[in-house]
């Protein structure tokens, strides 16, 4: 490993996040290169120095301010709830339209339609009987049967 390759692996090595193989290569390089060894030590001291920076304390009003801003946020409307779901909106519109159409049919027309339906039902029910009658009247074998003779009146 050369110094350039070492630099690419130095941070992970110092973090303890290098693989065992990488760690072995880095340590081998450090044994041979005093310059990189010194740099590792300087980086360690630098990281200690960086810990000295004080952090800014959050102001006590932070949460209250945030809650006020959240409370001022617009509430989602019903339209806003439906718009992201166009299929649902379309299905609901069709249902509503169908309901309106059915409710607009006049009651008299509705009753006529019911009566007509009942007649049609009766006709379908008698259809078998009508078909049987048709068969009987057109049955060829029956045509060969001599017509019934009138009974002869005996002379007295």
């Amino acid at each position: 490993m050369n110094c350039e390759k070492f630099e690419a692996r130095m941070i992970a090595y110092m973090d303890g996040r290098a693989t065992a193989e990488e760690r072995g290569e880095v340590e081998l390089h450090l044994v041979a290169c005093s310059e990189c060894r010194a740099r590792v030590e300087e980086f360690r001291r630098l990281w200690g120095v960086l810990d000295e920076t004080p952090a800014h304390e959050v102001s006590p009003a932070f949460d209250a301010r945030l809650r006020a801003r959240i409370a001022a946020e617009p509430r989602p409307s019903l339209l806003g709830w439906l718009l992201p779901q166009p299929r649902l909106a379309l299905a609901m519109s069709l249902l509503v339209a169908m309901g309106v159409w059915i409710s607009m049919i006049p009651p008299a027309q509705h009753q006529n339609e019911v009566a007509r339906s009942e007649e049609e039902f009766k006709m379908i029910k008698d259809l078998q009987v009508l078909e049987d009658l048709d068969v009987l009247t057109n049955f060829e074998a029956l045509s060969e049967v001599p017509p019934a003779q009138k009974p002869v009146q005996q002379k007295m």
Binding site: A8, R45, L46, V58, S59, L66, I70, E73, P76
Partner: protein, 198 residues
């Protein structure tokens, strides 16, 4: 048993305000610390942190746990901080926002940077006038923004490489290179503090 961040965020999504309060309590301080170190202004840092939480709240209905919560949170924070730094710089210079922002490329391309630390000789003398913390802060502030964000997320928030790389939209190897260059710059800038005392 404590709920994970993702579970809390799913609670927020379901309309549970207590879950949001728990996330706020957990991340309020780390976020403000990160943003303060990024922008170096307490009021701006708190405003930006508020904006981060507001954006999380606004996005709650669309939240899907596709990434770690911290990655999402710090990505929002980093983007807001970078925008604020650029806006501030543009205001100071009176330049158009359409012009290249500089940032990371500015240092590499030799373009003049606005927030470079004072390069005048006599760092030790200046240290006599200011305390160590101020010098360290100044050195961190002098880093290009992306390097600064990388160092802060790595050093002070202990995020994994893949998380930081995701936040900064770069590969892990690019991140390690970025971190090395940033720490190398700081090592030089803070040489008097880093040097071994006899």
């Amino acid at each position: 048993m404590a709920r994970s961040d993702v579970q809390l965020m799913l609670g927020v999504k379901a309309g549970d305000d207590a879950s949001f309060e728990l996330l706020l309590a957990k991340y309020r301080t780390p976020l403000v610390h990160f943003l303060f170190r990024m922008v170096r202004d307490a009021a701006t840092a708190e405003d930006l942190a508020q904006e981060v939480f507001l954006r999380v709240y606004r996005a709650r209905k669309k939240y899907a746990p596709s990434a770690k919560f911290t990655t999402w949170l710090f990505r929002i924070a980093t983007n807001l901080a970078l925008n604020a730094i650029r806006d501030s710089r543009n205001e100071k210079m009176g330049i158009s926002i359409d012009e290249p922002a500089g940032g990371e490329s500015g240092a590499d391309s030799g373009q003049p940077r606005i927030d470079l630390p004072d390069k005048r000789p006599g760092l030790v003398e200046r240290m006599m006038e200011r305390d160590r913390a101020a010098v360290i802060k100044r050195a961190i502030l002098g880093l290009p923004e992306k390097q600064r964000a990388a160092v802060l997320l790595h050093k002070y928030h202990d995020l994994d490489y893949d998380e930081i790389a995701d936040i900064l939209d770069c590969s892990e190897s690019a991140l390690k290179s970025l971190l090395f260059r940033a720490y190398e710059t700081l090592r030089v800038e803070l040489a008097p503090l880093v040097a071994v005392k006899d």
